[in-house]
Subunit: 383 residues, 2 copies
């Protein structure tokens, strides 16, 4: 059901010809209101793509009527012409939909450093607008795929209101945010300040804790739009929890579809002195190429976990550290623990627990293994 699960939204996904292989590459999401409140979180990368720079301007009003998304080109590092193209995209959508261009957010994904074929994009917007439908969410989700092998959607319903979403992302996933485009819609009647609060609370513990390959994109965008069409204003906690659930679900789907991965790895840091320490240690473990290779080889190489912990500034004593892999405490008190041959690593999901023995805080980072397929996928052609 994707972004059209919530009432008040229509969507479409079409093949505009941006991708040379003819696959779907342009999506349109429209908020029919009555409310048009919105919140957004963008990449922390200081090199921001033109659509990010534009959408940041759009967000200043807290109002979004429509979102144009394209795959097949990131429109990043494309200079003034790239920004003009994004602006023209918003103008075209505004014109076709009868809205102001400044209410149209734009998201792009694909190769960095090439201009979009605007002779395909602008007619594509007209085509997509003609196909807008209350059942178009799936097609929109399909049209934003790049190296994704599956499209990603999530829906959570409350008492009479719904939060629905679509996401794309399969590589270049790293904190602040993970590399991806996400559009979340809701018919809950919620103002932009509340949307912003709920969205930031959710992304901080979900997308910001997905780290596929340590690489941060220039195009990351997460949008949360409210139509208010249910007429119901939920309790904040219930609404925020629904947004967090949708984000967590999509974050897990992103890791599950990470480029070349054969293992999904849950890195849980426990007994940290602070949440910041737990996140820092979790990220250090999740980014350790040697560990990621070892997990690929189904090798419970806890020495590489300790090496990674040792590079952080977190509070811990080396001789109190513990590491469990799939439930077996292979490292205790910073040294050899239970027999590593007891660790069963046959399944796709691997669970690493790092015990810092320094407090009571915890954090979980999701990552995946490093494989020859990842290398192939990112070296055989420009992406």
């Amino acid at each position: 059901m994707s972004v059209t699960a919530a009432k008040g939204f229509r969507a479409a996904g079409i093949a505009a010809g941006i991708k040379q292989n003819g696959a779907p590459d342009l999506a349109l999401v429209v908020n029919d209101g009555p409310r048009r409140a919105a919140a957004a979180v963008f990449t922390a990368n200081r090199v921001k793509a033109a659509p990010v720079l534009w959408s940041e301007q759009v967000m200043k009003s807290g109002q979004v009527s429509a979102v144009v998304l394209n795959s097949g080109g990131a429109n990043a590092c494309t200079g003034p012409k790239g920004f003009q193209d994004t602006h023209a995209t918003a103008e075209k959508a505004g014109e076709v939909l009868g809205r102001g261009a400044i209410e149209v957010a734009v998201c792009s994904t694909g190769l960095i450093g090439t201009l979009l074929p605007m002779d395909k994009v602008l007619p594509g917007i007209e085509t997509a607008a003609a196909q807008l439908s209350e059942h178009g969410g799936e097609k929109a989700a399909i049209a934003i795929k790049t190296t994704d092998t599956v499209h990603k959607t999530s829906v959570v319903s409350g008492g009479g209101w719904t939060v629905g979403a679509m996401a794309k992302g399969a590589g270049m996933l790293a904190p602040g945010l993970a590399t991806m485009l996400v559009v979340i819609t809701t018919d809950a009647d919620v103002d932009d300040a509340t949307l912003d609060k709920a969205l930031r609370a959710a992304t901080r513990v979900t997308f910001d804790r997905v780290d596929s390959d340590g690489c941060m994109s220039t195009n990351d965008t997460v949008l949360l739009l409210s139509s208010g069409a249910s007429g119901i204003t939920p309790e904040y906690d219930a609404f925020a929890d629904a947004v967090r659930q949708v984000c967590a679900d999509l974050g897990r789907q992103l890791i599950g579809d990470a480029e070349g991965a054969s293992k999904d790895i849950k890195v849980e840091v426990v007994n940290a002195a602070s949440e910041e320490d737990a996140v820092e240690v979790g990220r250090s473990i999740a980014r350790n190429n040697l560990l990621k290779c070892a997990i690929h080889g189904e090798d419970p190489n806890w020495g590489r976990v300790l090496s990674a912990i040792g590079t952080t500034g977190a509070v811990f004593e080396p001789d109190r550290l513990g590491v469990a892999i799939n439930g077996v405490w292979v490292c205790k008190n910073g040294s050899v623990g239970e027999d590593r041959d007891l660790v069963d690593m046959r399944y796709r999901e691997v669970h690493i627990v790092a015990d810092l023995a320094a407090g009571a805080e915890t954090a979980t980072i999701w990552t995946n293994d490093l494989t020859a397929d990842y290398v192939h996928e990112n070296s055989a052609y420009s992406s």
Copy 2:
């Protein structure tokens, strides 16, 4: 000539049986004086192997008479027993050589988290001592190899004095220091404070700027020993330059032998506002898995360079950034530059220049590409 190029040193390298395949695995380096001054730099990893903890104690006196090095086991994360084993190693070498154990530095390399077979190590020290020779430097260099495909040595001579060295390292190479063991010897008559100053100045711009895979070891050790046997005390600048040359030479050899690598990549950051900015940006580029895959595929994907720069806190304006790959400015003013088809990437060495257009400082970081062979080498067996 290795560590015996300088007068006043003897060395040996033997197969003690620590490695199950019977390859050389134990080296001994002895300083016969008259001086026994020494300096050392150790890993910045907070999880330090037993031999590092021991050698840090040894260095408090600034005197080192001998170094015992073994491959086949890192003796890291091995608890109190591991430290006792290192201590017993130093005691045994001291006894055999007629020196105090506290003057014997110990270095170990290999798998983390397993105890050394002391029934092989201790007799091995006796065997090695019996084979000590002024021509034993090559054998010592061979005995410290782990996944190295070649042994690494370097020699620079001044006016009547010499600096010679051996190194091991092929993976887990990351700043602070690169993962490796290095023993540098000199017959220049230099005190421990001067050795320390020259060594730190050298490692800061050489080993600390080698970043193979972003992973920092628990065992890194660089030792610089002076016998004073030439009777000559060189000018500081000439001596420091010789030490720097040897470290730069070995650092380049480490990258040239990095696990699975097919490309050696020189990342040169220019026109930075500060040297710290240049180093931060260089490391960010050198650690970007997507870029390292692209270089493997001979793809001059400058967008990935800009993405990496964008994650740093360095001073720059996105629309003034420039990137040259093998002499072709593929990115100018943060956007498309010269034709990327002009870039010739057939050769092993690849030169990336990142121009921050923010000042006059520069720094160079060496790294290598990310390959399926790297994944295989680090997943097919525990290492």
